[in-house]
């Protein structure tokens, strides 16, 4: 499980989980799960196009991810943003199927962009991942507070000098950056699962933002490490395990939350009853 070719998989998986955990925290906080679906899947079309014209798929991914995120965040400003997201996603997927139909011999490579090829990651691919990942982390670190206030209190943010519309566009680019670095490794579907499942579960466990982000990263790491190990042992696809474990972790988080809400309530009831008896 720790042979040379597997070392790359562990490294790549670790980097993707860290980025997905951090960026995903804001995806869920902002209610942007649909955007997190559209950008990776739309970006896959860009990679398909790049393969067709013989360019590095990473460039196609980056252009489509950034273009898609920009289109959705700008057009979604004055209209229902879910409608814009849906139409952009459908249009990009349509383009992707067109590109694929023109280049059948490369379809295996493109297929891996949807479902990932983490067990076949080469060390050459790790370098651009680390660079793009560092850009994402730096942007989130720098914009942490403006992102929080614009996401939770968009109407009150302007009085603190934060323009929520600009934050929406900037966050779209951060998401595009995270997508571009991770889709070649884990695929669009897995990135989507990692961006939503672990961060959503972390929110149930803690009520502090500074704790929720590391916890979200930890859960994403557990998800991807377990998936790689299980895929190696069972020879089943990694994608199956990542999506299944993401969903399981979310369900477990909800369970924790349900328990947390019940316990204090019953304690209060017990105290009130005890006081009533004493009186």
């Amino acid at each position: 499980m720790f042979e040379d070719f597997m070392v790359n998989a562990w490294e790549a998986g670790t980097i993707v989980a860290i980025i997905a955990g951090v960026v995903g925290f804001f995806v869920v906080l902002r209610g942007n799960s649909f955007l997190a679906h559209a950008v990776p899947h739309g970006a896959f079309a860009g990679a398909a196009g790049a393969v067709l014209i013989g360019v590095d798929p990473l460039i196609g991914l980056g252009v489509f991810a950034a273009g898609g995120a920009l289109t959705i965040s700008v057009l979604g400003r004055r209209a229902r943003s879910d409608v814009i997201t849906a139409l952009s996603l459908a249009m990009m997927l349509g383009l992707g199927s067109f590109f694929l139909s023109r280049s059948s011999e490369y379809s295996a490579e493109v297929f891996s962009l949807l479902f990932g090829q983490i067990l076949g990651v080469s060390s050459v691919q790790i370098v651009p991942m680390i660079v793009l990942g560092a850009v994402c982390l730096a942007a989130v670190g720098l914009l942490y507070r403006p992102l929080l206030i614009a996401s939770v209190l968009p109407e009150m943010a302007p009085s603190r000098g934060v323009n929520p519309q600009i934050i929406t566009v900037v966050f779209g680019f951060i998401l595009a950056c995270a997508t571009t670095m991770s889709v070649p490794i884990v695929g669009a579907l897995l990135m989507f699962a990692l961006l939503v499942g672990p961060p959503a579960a972390a929110r149930f466990v803690t009520r502090r933002p500074v704790t929720a982000i590391p916890l979200s990263v930890l859960l994403a790491l557990v998800t991807i490490w377990a998936s790689i190990a299980l895929a190696y042992v069972s020879d089943w696809p990694v994608g199956f395990f990542v999506t299944a474990i993401s969903a399981l972790i979310y369900v477990a988080g909800r369970g924790v939350s349900a328990l947390r809400r019940r316990v204090p309530a019953s304690r209060n009831t017990a105290r009130v009853e005890a006081e009533a008896v004493a009186a």
Binding site: R145, P146, V152, L153, S159, R160, G161, V162, P209
Partner: protein
């Protein structure tokens, strides 16, 4: 487009100065030349029927809504003052958002700054003091989304207050509060404008609690604003004309009550009752109220 916005006031004495504000939204003229000057420490009530443009005016004063024409001079943020504090009418909060009351209040202090916060003791103390001022310290550790509407309102007010703003724009801040909490908030606001010279512009449908503290009332109707003293505006004839429905102002024992008269329905019922029944119900009502007084 003649709109321009200056971030500092050159009208001496005024903390907020709006000139000839016109706002057209989706082709509909909402504000048609509104002027408003507010002095430091002044308590201004903004009233008007639903759709009169109260929220639109507040958003224009805050600067999130660019007026079609007109100018607004508002306090700017610097090291000493938090500029304008704003409390919107409706804030949709996610139940599971991992943010405690104190996180929300701290964002009011430094939410616009870059980087991850490393709150020192002084900041934490200031957050606690602000939460205490709005009687919210007891639920400081709770998730903002899990609180009642009234608790959220107080936390959001603390968020608006913590930066020491020179001007507070409050859109229906009392709407979700029970009478006792609403009274506490009005008392707090009145204290703040006296001790910190914070100017306050507030909208409220129920103005009874605000009557003792308001310096001035601005009422919006037909896109225009008319300013007057509470004595001049809070009169049955003026309010009835403003809202286009019967409104009665009752002055008794130095208190003023504003009552939306339900088109005189109780009176009609009263007239239809036989004299002795009406008399009996009237006397029982009286004895009931005197009993309550004891």
């Amino acid at each position: 487009m003649t709109h321009s916005t200056q971030e500092w006031n050159d009208v001496p004495g005024a903390v907020l100065s709006a000139r000839d504000i016109r706002v057209t939204l989706s082709g509909k003229l909402i504000l048609d030349g509104v002027d408003l000057d507010v002095a430091p420490g002044e308590f201004v009530g903004l009233i008007g029927a639903n759709g009169a443009g109260k929220t639109t005016l507040l958003r224009s004063l805050l600067g999130v809504l660019k007026p079609t024409s007109g100018t607004v001079e508002r306090p700017r943020r610097d090291a000493r003052t938090g500029g304008v504090g704003y409390l919107p009418q409706k804030v949709a909060l996610d139940v599971d958002a991992p943010l405690r009351a104190r996180d929300v209040v701290a964002l009011g202090l430094d939410g616009g700054r870059p980087g991850i916060p490393l709150h020192r003791r002084a900041t934490r103390k200031r957050v606690d003091e602000t939460l205490d001022a709005v009687n919210a310290l007891s639920f400081a550790e709770q998730r903002i989304g899990e609180m009642s509407g009234g608790q959220q309102q107080r936390v959001l007010l603390a968020h608006a207050l913590i930066s020491d703003p020179a001007l507070l724009l409050l859109d229906e801040p009392l709407a979700n509060l029970d009478p006792a909490s609403a009274y506490d908030i009005v008392t707090l606001l009145d204290r703040l404008r006296r001790t910190h010279r914070v100017a306050i512009v507030i909208t409220a449908h129920d103005m009874n609690l605000l009557l003792p503290v308001m310096d001035r009332i601005v009422y919006l109707a037909g896109g225009r604003a008319v300013t007057g003293s509470p004595e001049a505006v809070v009169r049955s004839d003026v309010l009835t004309r403003l809202y286009g429905r019967p409104i009665r102002v009752i002055r008794a024992e130095g208190r003023v009550m504003v009552i939306a008269d339900d088109a005189g329905i109780p009176d009609e019922v009263h007239h239809e009752l036989p004299a002795e029944v009406a008399g009996a119900s009237g006397s029982s009502g009286l004895s009931g109220s005197s009993g309550g007084g004891l």
